[in-house]
Symmetry: C2
Subunit: 222 residues, 2 copies
């Protein structure tokens, strides 16, 4: 039986939010992965990488797993009625409704996290409360059939968690070994809980304008 | 001053070999990242993802960093005289000559690892000896200006190592925090040193035909 997995793509997304779980889930036995967008025109990520969708919202089959990546421009999706409608329609029948990074804010805007524990990129985690979700710190947070991943690289841990839910731990462990996922970061600076305060402050300062906009927009949904 | 960074793209590459270090290095202050291929037509990864190159071999500027990802079809690049010539030409003047995963086999075929310690995907590490390299187990292996990463996901650790070499540890740690790279794999199965033997055997069995071809082709260069 085919497992239909769909990722929402949009301009300004962070490509690694998508690329990590995409690589993992493409290796799930029986999976067919769809890259879903407004049209089949190239999508431009925040890093200017251009990649090609495989299907439009209307032509996408019923999905077993729907996944929404994030990025600096998630707000552009809030008003995209076709994208939000696509997510609601798929979520109503999907086995798993999922996100990586600030993709959870998009799920929130679509009303799909109301009453659910969920996570997001560390800079944006509190915002989930505006959408009725319960902000929950964690690399991967599962609440019933909602599975949300933390920031960017958490998408690999997320992908392996979803793979295990779909086809079991043995298959997920084989994928992990194939991807040689035995991480050894050269620095210990991947979360504010462990990073030097100066580093955290510098990252927040560099993102301040973007975060101001993000907080203001999320508050409009409260 | 602009730091020019170029990734070789080719059909059948593993997209995450590229996507991890691409995401990291795109965030290096002053970096301009080029995706280099035979033409500007879409490249199709082994997972069928299609992405768009930004420049051809001839139009690519002199690079400070040249990086070669790997994938199940690295052998197709061995006979691609234009690609091999591009790598030799850039390597002659680049600050860093690098690879992720089985991209090191391509560097080997181009004669760029002769006498250098280097790593590769765990399934293919011994093959580097056929190209005069010294196979060296490691997530990231640095020998003079050659920096090679292990399999697929090692590209993130590799990217942060290269970022620190280019612009210093503080900037690299900021990138790590922005990418929330504080990995927490749900299983401990990312390398044969830690995976269950049954998992390793199953992965090797599934790859046997491809590995037979890869070993045979590498032996022709000895």
């Amino acid at each position: 039986m085919t497992i239909e997995i769909g990722f929402l793509l949009f301009n300004g997304m962070t490509q690694l939010d998508f690329a990590g779980p995409f690589e993992v889930l493409s290796r799930v036995p029986g999976a067919r992965v769809h890259l879903v967008a407004d049209s089949l025109d190239p999508i431009t990520a925040d890093t200017h990488l251009r990649l090609l969708p495989t299907v439009t919202y209307d032509d996408c089959p019923a999905l077993n797993v729907v996944c929404v990546p994030g990025g600096p421009h998630v707000e552009s999706v809030y008003e995209n009625a076709a994208a939000i409608d696509f997510l609601r329609r798929q979520a109503a029948q999907a086995d798993y409704v999922t996100s990586v990074c600030t993709g959870s804010l998009i799920l929130g805007v679509a009303g799909l996290l109301d009453g659910y524990k969920a996570t997001s990129h560390w800079t944006s985690l509190p915002l989930l409360a505006h959408f009725g979700a319960v902000p929950t710190k964690g690399r991967v947070v599962t609440d019933r059939n909602r599975i949300t991943g933390g920031g960017v690289t958490a998408g690999i841990d997320f992908g392996l968690t979803v793979a295990a839910a779909l086809v079991g731990e043995t298959a997920a462990k084989m994928i992990q070994l194939g991807l040689e996922y035995d991480p050894a970061p050269p620095f210990n600076s991947g979360h504010p809980d462990v990073a030097d305060k100066e580093i955290t402050d510098a990252v927040l300062a560099a993102m301040q304008d973007r975060l101001d906009t993000r907080f203001k927009r999320a508050a409009e949904f409260a």
